[in-house]
């Protein structure tokens, strides 16, 4: 195995643990925005999609690259936007005068 691959495994394992530790205590109120925000982050595959599309030659790889960019961009743009739309609605209890 190449060094780059092994350091990839290291990063993967560490990031998984960081993810577990950060999200373990998230309040149920935020479960939906958390999921859609996390979902948008999984759109990071857009980087791979752009590389695949840019380096494509031949109609098969053009098609694959194009679809990959489209799918990933839907995921990224839609995911972050809709999460922002949801979070905009979350408001704290105003100090009520009784």
């Amino acid at each position: 195995m190449s060094d780059a691959f092994i350091s990839g495994i290291v990063v993967f394992v560490l990031a998984s643990f960081v993810g577990f530790e950060i999200i373990r205590r998230v309040p149920p109120t935020l479960h939906t925005p958390l999921m859609s925000g996390a979902n948008a982050i999984s759109g990071i595959t857009i980087v791979g999609a752009i590389i695949a599309a840019a380096t494509a030659d031949g109609w098969i790889s053009y098609t694959l690259g194009f679809l990959a960019v489209v799918f990933a961009t839907i995921n990224v743009v839609g995911g972050f936007l809709v999460t922002d739309r949801m979070l905009e609605m979350f408001k704290k209890l105003p100090a009520r005068s009784k």
């Binding site: 990839g8 993967f12 998230v26 053009y62």
Partner: protein
Amino acid sequence: MSELAYLAAGVLFIVGLKGLTSPTTARRGNRLAAIGMLVATVVVVIDLLVDDAQMAWAVVISGLIVGGAIGFVLATRVQMTDMPQLVAAFNGFGGGASALVAAAAIVAAGTGVAVETLVVTLLSLVIGSLTLSGSFVAFGKLQGIISGRPIAPPGGTATNGIIAALGIACGVIAVVTGEDVWFWAAGALALALGVSGVMPIGGADMPVVISLLNSLSGVAAAMAGFVIGNQALIVGGALVGAAGLILTIEMSVAMNRSLANVLFSGFGGGPVDQDIGSKPVKRATAEDAAIALAYADRVVIVPGYGLAVAQAQHAVRDLATALEARDTEVIYAIHPVAGRMPGHMNVLLAEADVPYDQLQDLEHANPQFPQTDVVLVVGANDVINPSAKTDPDSPIYGMPILDVDEAQTTIVVKRSLSPGFAGIDNPLFYEDGTMMYFADAKVALEETLAAVERL
């Protein structure tokens, strides 16, 4: 240098996710993660430009425009009640993108590719494909295009086992031989497994399924990161994989079922209890409900999926405001699996301007029921069924429920006595302290509000 920029993107994802764990920082967190994504995207473009300006930029740009436009329209037009299916669709697109990245790598690869690269390419392709087809079946079920009832594949759940075994076999051959055709076969079987695996899962189990698909879309992205040797994908994907897995486990626990049981049991497809409707219930009118609510000191509202279906989140908020104006304390008790995705009810109520600190989770709500005068249940059933505590033979026995039976009076707004998803009767409906108000949730809440205002 670009490695450092990707690292920065990864850090922004971590800080962003951290922000999403508290309502006060969540919006900023989401934006930080979005900035991380922008950084990664800009860096990869610059990298490619430095490498060689003669590239298929038309393909990239047109893809970004088309995808961006679709994503923008979907995100800005969606109704909050439809959020579960939108997130399911986004999961599917994310998984699909990772599968396509792997597919492009397979097409581009020559011979003599290292075994570990073949393995991660296969995993990215297979997990991404499974996420793609599984998510769109979940989307179809949530959107009502496909029946929400469990639909078993021909041959039953054993079929899924056979498809999975064939897929693994093809995958092993693909890695050993390195021949493209075996990769495509494994990918096709993964697509089939996504369909046949999600079809038998019923609507009420969707919170678990969406969480799991969310996790898988992250893992697929991480594997794609190994394929192209990019750490930003590995970090982002691993974070999402972990986040989705935590939610998957939490949702399973909230239903007192193992993940395997949710995935393979076809729960909710059993026969419907035939005794339902044979026992007398106390019926309530809008006036009865209004009197009980208006003279209560403390009211707990329990929203369920029926509230989402009826789009009654604003109506319930209006009623609560009217009660608060009469000095009645109102809180909302939300079961973890109310609705069709984790936290769905909270988003709907937030949309109706209900402050989030009025929303109580199971742990905090349950000790409060004995001191509650009136519980108003709107379109929930299984999550308040006392059989979960009292009847060891019940299919939902052991599931944590909201103990509404401990309150003095319970008003249940429901369209009919028809059973909830589990197909079982709810003894709560026949108790002395329970009033049944048979109506559409929105209509019932509006009529009750009118009656409160007449008092």
